[in-house]
């Protein structure tokens, strides 16, 4: 009996101490962050935040635009690329994702709705690069027939766009070998001859060309190159969210879009050097190189931030090539985006 009472006493003392420490901590923490209205927490999934196509989100965060809207935005850089970021959005782990519109289309074919509320870029921002070794042999897309070709990962946007380019040039999808070679490992795959040509994103595209290791067969960083290759506009990366987020937190969506519209305006009016300086070092990498690759992709950033209906419709068409959007399935481009928030932010 006595023993157990002693044990009890020890327990109470211990408990008291824990409570005391907890109270102390609480006081300290609240003292550290005085009265200011708690910012609303928002999470954004991104598959590789350093990539050029995610610049609006990265910049809005770096310049404090989200904070000025009263949002505490946490960018979750999700390993595994855009598909994983979109999965996180569908699964409810994040509130938004900066994602190619492709993911909203794929989700739709499986009965899930994702809505694009802001356009990060209005071009694919990728290029088809051929290793120098094949300079004499590969002069057009039709020459790619029967060769191993690299995409960042199977089913990604690079895969879909490449498929579309091939079919447009009369090469059937099963007449080439599509290799999932990874975004950052694509240069090596080309050098090692694992693939003869590959879809490249920046900064790898700019670096590879600069090093003189290959040449661009298709350059979709510019409007001209995109229109030539694809026949018109192609909607690129957007800010996606779920209908339930729009329904429950419309004000938050508006604030997100406000900050991103501001970011796009800044991008359009800035030089590459200025942008590289505005970004944290871990995102800009080599500032000179970043500035260079930005100047190359400058036209991709829309001053008005509006999602393009024609661009979305064309992406849907690219996805019919591999039956990602089955032949019988109709998807209304209008149902995939909502420009109201951007229009409001623009004051229109």
């Amino acid at each position: 009996m006595r023993r157990s009472r002693e044990g009890k006493d020890v327990m109470t003392t211990l408990l008291r101490r824990i409570v005391a420490v907890a109270v102390l901590l609480a006081v300290l923490v609240s003292g550290g962050a005085p009265a200011s209205r708690a910012a609303e927490k928002v999470t954004v999934g991104v598959g590789g935040v350093a990539l050029m196509v995610y610049l609006p989100t990265a910049l809005a965060k770096a310049k404090g635009y989200f904070a000025e809207e009263g949002l505490d935005v946490e960018i979750l850089d999700i390993k595994g690329g855009g598909s994983q970021a979109a999965s996180a959005l569908i699964g409810g782990s994040v509130d938004f994702s900066a994602n190619a519109i492709d993911h909203a289309i794929k989700a739709r074919t499986r009965g899930k709705d994702l809505i694009a509320v802001h356009s990060h870029v209005r071009l694919p921002v990728m290029g088809l690069v051929v290793a120098n070794k094949y300079k004499g042999e590969i002069k057009s897309i039709a020459d790619l027939k029967g060769r191993p070709l690299g995409v960042t990962s199977p089913g990604s946007q690079t895969h879909m766009v490449l498929g579309y380019l091939l079919v447009k040039s009369g090469v059937k999808a099963d007449e080439v070998k599509i290799v999932g070679a990874g975004g950052n490992t694509m240069p090596l795959a080309l050098e090692k001859d694992s693939v003869h040509a590959g879809m490249m994103v920046d900064p790898f595209f700019t670096v590879f060309l600069k090093q003189g290791k290959g040449y661009a067969l298709v350059d979709m960083f510019t409007t001209k190159g995109t229109v030539e290759a694809m026949g018109g506009e192609v909607q690129g990366t957007t800010l996606l969210t779920r209908p339930d987020v729009i329904a429950r937190r419309p004000a938050t969506v508006q604030k997100m879009v406000n900050a991103l519209v501001r970011a796009n305006k800044l991008i359009v009016g800035s030089s590459g050097e200025e942008l590289a300086k505005a970004l944290p070092r871990e995102l800009s990498g080599d500032p000179k190189l970043y500035a260079e690759s930005f100047e190359h992709a400058r036209e991709a950033f829309p001053a008005d931030s509006l999602v393009s209906r024609e661009g979305v419709a064309r992406v849907i068409e690219t996805m019919r090539v591999f039956d990602v959007v089955p032949a019988g399935t109709k998807i209304d481009p209008e149902s995939l985006f909502d420009n109201r928030y951007v229009l409001k932010a623009l004051g229109r």
């Binding site: 598909s83 979109a86 999965s87 569908i90 699964g91 993911h103 794929k106 989700a107 499986r110 009965g111 899930k112 191993p148 990962s153 199977p154 089913g155 990604s156 070998k177 599509i178 290799v179 999932g180 070679a181 990874g182 490992t185 090596l188 795959a189 090692k192 694992s194 693939v195 990602v324």
Partner: protein, 262 residues
Amino acid sequence: MLATSGVDKVSRAEVYLWRVVLLGAFLILWEAATRRGWVDPFFVSQPTVLAMQIADWIRTGFIFRHLVVTMQETIIGFLLGTLLGVAVGFLFAHWEKLARIFDPLMVALNAMPRVVLAPLFILWFGLGLLSKVVMVVSLVFFVVFFSTYTGIREVDRDLVNNARILGASPRHMIRHVLLPSALTWIFASLRTSVGFALIGAVVGEYLGSHEGMGYVISYAESMFNATGVLAGLLVLMAAVIAIDIGLQRLDARFSYWKPVPK
């Protein structure tokens, strides 16, 4: 005691019955849960849809092309890894000094998470067969090596001494004493390492390839196609079970080698 074998037979039938009942109940529950909307089939698919997907893959022959590639990588890597593991295990068990010198290295190498190394393997050995085989070997080798090493060290000392007294040459010793005793250990490790071998091949394909089950699964995943991912996994599971049954048969065939325990 006399009835033991009879009881065994009954319980075996019972075990099978239970397996079937549990599996059936699980599938029915799964199907019902998705049909009634308790869980979203977007995330977990549906047994009937899965079955249709696999049937479709088999009918079109689509899955065999990829399964053959994966199995090729698995089996080549598995055989090489096993051979290497047994050889080095033998060497180390036989040559104490070697074992003592390399012990920390082996432990360190084994502790390395090789799945994380996979992208490097792909850089070093390309996107084809070789990188996957290396990946498989790196996984299988250590399992087999440690088992062989232990197996030979654990051989009954009396047996070894008796054989020596009876005038067994080193070659006889290996063939009639060491190898048979270690074989139980080696076979036990083989069943474990088959699973590892498949993991190695699939992870390799998942990260960079143009064919194979890892490619199929990775593609389905990027299409938000839970059915494709699960169907791919089911096919792999079936393949592992098939290999495991084969190994068990092999083990039974070799088990007469086992020395009778004291």
